[in-house]
Amino acid sequence: MTHTLSETGADVQTPAPASGGGGGYFRFVLRRIGTSIITLFGITLVSFGLGVLVPLRPETANLSQQALSNPAAVAAFREKFGLDLPVWEQYLRYLGGLFRGDLGISQQTGQPIAADLAKYAPATLELVLWATVLSVLIGVSLGIVAAYARNRWPDHLARVVSLVGVSLPTYWLALIGSTFFFRQLGWLPGSGRLDASDTPPPRVTGFMTIDTLLAGDMSAWGSAVAHLILPATILALSNLGMVLRFTRSAVLDGLNTDAVKAARVKGLPGRRVLMRYAVRSASSPIITVTALSFGFLLAATVYVEQIFAWGGLGQYAYRSATNLDVTAITGISVVIAVIFLAVNFTADLLASAFDPRIRLQ
C-alpha cells in the first residue's frame, strides 16, 4: 500500500492491483523487509557519516583540559575508541559489530551501547506509548467531529486546537506546563519518573507503571502514573494537530464518496453514515497517522525528557550529541529507526486488514 496526500491534505490510498493471493502477500512482506534493511543501512551510513564529517574531535568533550594538552593521553583515547583508524575502517568495523548485535562502547558511560539503550529505551517507550494513545484518542475524536461539523464552530475550534498544537514548540509547552500544573497549582509532580522518596521497584519490564504494579507498591504506582501525566500530555499536544488534520481530511474525503452519498439517499441516519462509512473508509489513513505519530513522538521526546529529567533515550541522545559520542548517536538512530520501521510495517498490515479495498501485491 502507498499513501499520498490529496489536495485536501488527506492520506489517500493508491489502490493496488488485484491480489495475487497468499504468494503476493508473502512477496509484499519480503519486499518490505528488504526495503527496511536497506533503509537501516542508509541510516547507519548517514548517522556515522555526519558524525565523522563534522570537524570535531570527541576527546575534547571526554578528556580533562590537562589531558587534552597531553598528546599521549589523546592518542590513548583515540586508540581506545578506534578513532585513530581511517573513517572507512571505522565504519566497516561498526557494521561488522552491528551484525553481531554489538553497537560499540559509549565514550560517555564506558558501557556497551546496546546495554545503555536497553536500559533507557523502556522509559522512552512508556512515555511515547501513552503520548501516542492520548494524541490519537483526542486527535481522531476531534478530527471526526471537525469533519462532521465542517465549517461550523466545532470545526473552527478544532482547527484552532490543531494550529496551536502544531505551532507551539514542545520545549516551551513543557516549561509552561510544568510551571503551571506543578509549580503554580501543585496538581502534578515535577521531574523524574518517580517521587524521589520512593525506592524504584525491581526492574522487570522497565516500564515504571508496570514494574511498580508487579512489585505491589501502589504508592509508587500512583507516583509513576502521576509523573507520566504531564510529559505524556505535553508530548501528545505536540502531535495532536497532525493527527487531527489528517483525520479531518480523511473523514471529509470519506464523506464525499459515492457510498456515503448512496447511504444518505437511502435515508440512513447521519451518525450511522459517519461512523459506518466515512470513518471506516478513513481507517487506513488513521492507522498510518498513528504509526507516524509514534515515530514523530520518539524524536520529539528529546525536548520533553530534558525538561522533565525523564532519563530515557531522549536524554541519552542529548548527552551523546553534546559529548560528540558518534557511536552512541548512531546506535540511537539505528534503534529508533528499527522501532519506527517495525511500527510502520505493522501499521501497513493492519491497514490492509481494516480496508478491504486494499490489495497487497
Binding site: 587534552l68 461539523a149 501543585g186 522518596s197 501525566i229 532519563g311 560528540l324
Partner: protein
C-alpha cells in the same frame, strides 16, 4: 447544540482529565505531597545539570562525579566551607622536609571503609599509584610524585620538584583513598601497566561496593538520569545527615527553579545568579560565594594573529570597561584583579587589578595607525557552567566595548567542544574562557605562565617573557611565608606582561531549602555532600 460525536469526544476528554486528577490525588495523598515529604522521609534531592562520566576515583574529572565522590570517598585532606585551607581528613598529620620534596603523612587510626576494612597506608599507596598508572584524565596530578608505605599508618610522598602545596593536591577527588583489597578483588591494580590491565572501573558503579570510606554508599549510578546514595551504616565518623541523597539530572535552570520552589528538590546548583537573587524567601536560602575561577580573554601571540602586537594587547587590556562588564554579568560577580582569584594566596587587593581607560586605548590605536584592526573572538555559546553566565551576552558586551576603541571584532560562537578544541590547538585569535581549578591553591594558576599549559595555547613561550617565567618558577618552589610574596609578584607581572585580559571573578550561587541546615560551596566539587547537615 453539539452533535452526539462532539458530546462523546468532550465526554472522553473530561473522563481522561478526571482520571488523571484522581490518580494525581491518590498519588499525592499517598506521598504526603511534594518534595517536603522527601526531606521528611530522610531523602535529600539535589538538582544538577549532569556531566557524569565515571565514579571510579582514578578517572574522575567532571563536576557531577566530584560531587558524588564527596559523599562516597574521602581524601587525605579536604576543604571545609569554601575556605582554601586544607584540613586533615583521613590524614592525621603531615610533616615536610625543608625543601618541600618529602612528606610524611600519618593516617588517623579510626577510619574504616564501608565494608568494614580499616584505612591503612597500603590503601593510600594503592589508590595513588593506581591513579598514576591508570593514565586516565586526572593522572597528571601524580606526575613527579612517588608514594611509599612506611608502616601501616604512615606513608611517604616524594616529589621531583618542591611541592609546598601538596596538601592542596591531596584534596582533589581523584586522590580519594579506596580499599585496595576490594578493588584488587574486582580486577584493579596499581601496577605500571594498569592502563592496560586494570578492569575494576565498573566495580565502582556497583551498589554498596564498600570501597569508599565516606558517610554515604552507592545505591545506583546512572550518568543519564540520577545518582542515588544511601547512608553508610558503618561510617566511622559522625552519622550522616540523610538516609538517602538523590542527585538528579535536571538540565534546565527554569525547571530546577520550579522544582525547588515546588518542594520537589532541596538543593539546586545551576540557577543563574540573576535569577537566584530574587528567590530568597522564608522557604529558600540563596548562597553566593567566591568562585576559584577567573574569566579571561586569551590573546594569541601566534605569528600573523592581529593580537600578536603589543599595541593591540595593551589597547584591549586598557580598553575594556571592567565595571560595565561586571554590571552586565550581574549577581555577585566582581572585577578580577589578576589571574589569581581573591580566595587564594597571592591575590591582589581590590583596585590593584587592571585599570580601564578606553580613551587612552583609543588614542593608542589611533597613534599607532591600528584603528580598524579586525579581530575574531571565539567563545562557547552553550557554556553556562560558570554561575550561569551567558557567554553570548558577555561576548557581545566585549565586542561593543572594543569597537568603541576602534577595533573591529567578529564574534565566533561555537559549541563548547568546538570552541575548546580550537583553543587547545592554539587556533584562536582572541578567546573567552575560564579555568576550572584542580585545587584552591595559587600554584594551580601557574599554567598561565609563559610556557605553561595555557600560555602555550596563546603561543607565549617562556623566552617571550623571561622575567615573568622566572617569577612563576620562584612562586612554584617558594615555601612557608615566602609563598604569598612570590605569588603576588608573579601575579603583578602577569598583569603587566601577559597576553591575557583578566575580566571577572564570578560568584557561585546555590539555592537550598531553608530546611537544609548547612550547605556550602566547595572549591572543587560545587558542594561537598559529606558537609551537608
Amino acid at each position: 447544540m453539539a452533535s452526539k460525536p462532539m458530546r462523546k469526544a468532550v465526554g472522553a476528554c473530561a473522563l481522561l482529565l478526571t482520571g488523571a486528577l484522581a490518580v494525581t490525588g491518590c498519588s499525592s495523598s499517598a506521598e504526603g505531597g511534594g518534595g517536603a515529604s522527601t526531606e521528611k522521609s530522610g531523602t535529600l534531592v539535589i538538582d544538577q545539570a549532569f556531566t557524569a562520566q565515571s565514579i571510579d576515583p582514578a578517572t574522575i574529572f567532571q563536576v557531577t562525579d566530584a560531587i558524588t565522590a564527596s559523599g562516597l570517598y574521602q581524601t587525605l585532606f579536604t576543604y571545609i566551607d569554601n575556605v582554601a585551607e586544607p584540613e586533615p581528613l583521613l590524614a592525621e598529620s603531615l610533616t615536610a622536609n625543608d625543601a618541600a620534596t618529602e612528606f610524611t603523612i600519618t593516617l588517623r587510626d579510626d577510619a574504616t571503609f564501608a565494608n568494614g576494612n580499616p584505612v591503612t597506608a597500603a590503601d593510600v599507596v594503592f589508590s595513588l599509584n593506581r591513579l598514576k598508572y591508570l593514565a586516565a584524565s586526572p593522572a597528571y596530578r601524580m606526575e613527579g610524585i612517588t608514594v611509599s608505605e612506611v608502616d601501616e599508618r604512615t606513608v611517604k610522598l616524594t616529589t621531583e620538584n618542591p611541592a609546598p602545596y601538596i596538601e592542596h593536591t591531596l584534596t582533589a577527588p581523584p586522590l580519594a583513598i579506596v580499599d585496595d583489597e576490594a578493588v584488587r578483588a574486582a580486577g584493579g591494580t596499581d601496577a605500571e601497566d594498569a592502563a592496560d590491565t586494570d578492569t575494576a572501573g565498573q566495580f565502582f558503579t556497583q551498589p554498596a561496593n564498600g570501597a569508599g570510606s565516606g558517610p554515604y554508599a552507592l545505591e545506583s549510578y546512572d550518568t543519564n538520569a540520577q545518582i542515588v546514595l544511601v547512608k553508610n551504616e558503618n561510617y566511622w565518623g559522625e552519622a550522616p545527615a540523610y538516609d538517602r541523597i538523590v542527585i538528579r539530572n535536571v538540565n534546565n535552570a527554569q525547571q530546577q527553579k520550579a522544582n525547588i520552589e515546588g518542594g520537589d528538590s532541596q538543593i539546586a546548583l545551576d540557577i543563574p545568579g540573576r535569577i537566584a537573587e530574587g528567590m530568597e524567601s522564608d522557604a529558600l536560602q540563596v548562597q553566593s560565594s567566591s568562585s576559584p575561577e577567573v574569566l579571561y580573554l586569551a590573546l594569541s601571540q601566534k605569528d600573523g594573529a592581529a593580537t600578536d602586537d603589543p599595541d593591540i594587547v595593551e589597547a584591549i587590556k586598557t580598553g575594556i570597561d571592567y565595571e560595565a562588564l561586571r554590571t552586565l554579568v550581574g549577581a555577585g560577580a566582581k572585577e578580577a584583579t589578576g589571574i589569581i582569584p581573591s580566595m587564594m594566596i597571592g591575590a591582589l587587593p581590590e583596585g590593584e587589578g587592571p585599570q580601564s581607560d578606553p580613551e587612552a586605548a583609543k588614542k593608542l590605536l589611533a597613534d599607532a595607525g591600528k584603528t580598524g584592526t579586525e579581530i575574531s573572538l571565539d567563545y562557547a555559546n552553550d557554556y553556562t557552567r560558570l554561575a550561569g553566565i551567558d557567554y553570548n551576552t558577555l561576548a557581545q558586551g566585549l565586542q561593543t566595548q572594543l569597537e568603541g576603541i576602534g577595533l573591529k571584532v567578529t564574534l565566533n560562537p561555537t559549541p563548547t567542544s568546538t570552541s575548546l578544541q580550537r583553543y587547545v590547538d592554539g587556533e584562536t585569535e582572541m578567546a573567552l574562557w575560564s579555568w576550572p581549578p584542580d585545587t584552591a591553591d595559587a600554584s594551580d594558576e601557574l599554567v598561565f605562565a609563559p610556557g605553561g599549559l595555557i600560555g602555550e595555547r596563546v603561543h607565549w613561550p617562556a623566552d617571550a617573557a623571561p622575567e615573568t617565567a622566572e617569577l612563576a618558577e620562584a612562586a612554584r618552589v617558594a615555601t612557608g611565608d615566602d609563598r604569598e610574596a612570590a605569588f603576588t609578584a608573579w601575579n603583578e607581572s602577569m598583569n603587566e606582561a601577559a597576553p591575557f585580559a583578566f575580566l571577572l571573578e564570578p560568584s557561585f550561587f546555590l539555592v537550598a531549602s531553608s530546611s537544609v541546615g548547612h550547605v556550602s560551596h566547595d572549591p572543587l566539587a560545587a558542594i561537598n555532600l559529606s558537609q551537608i547537615n
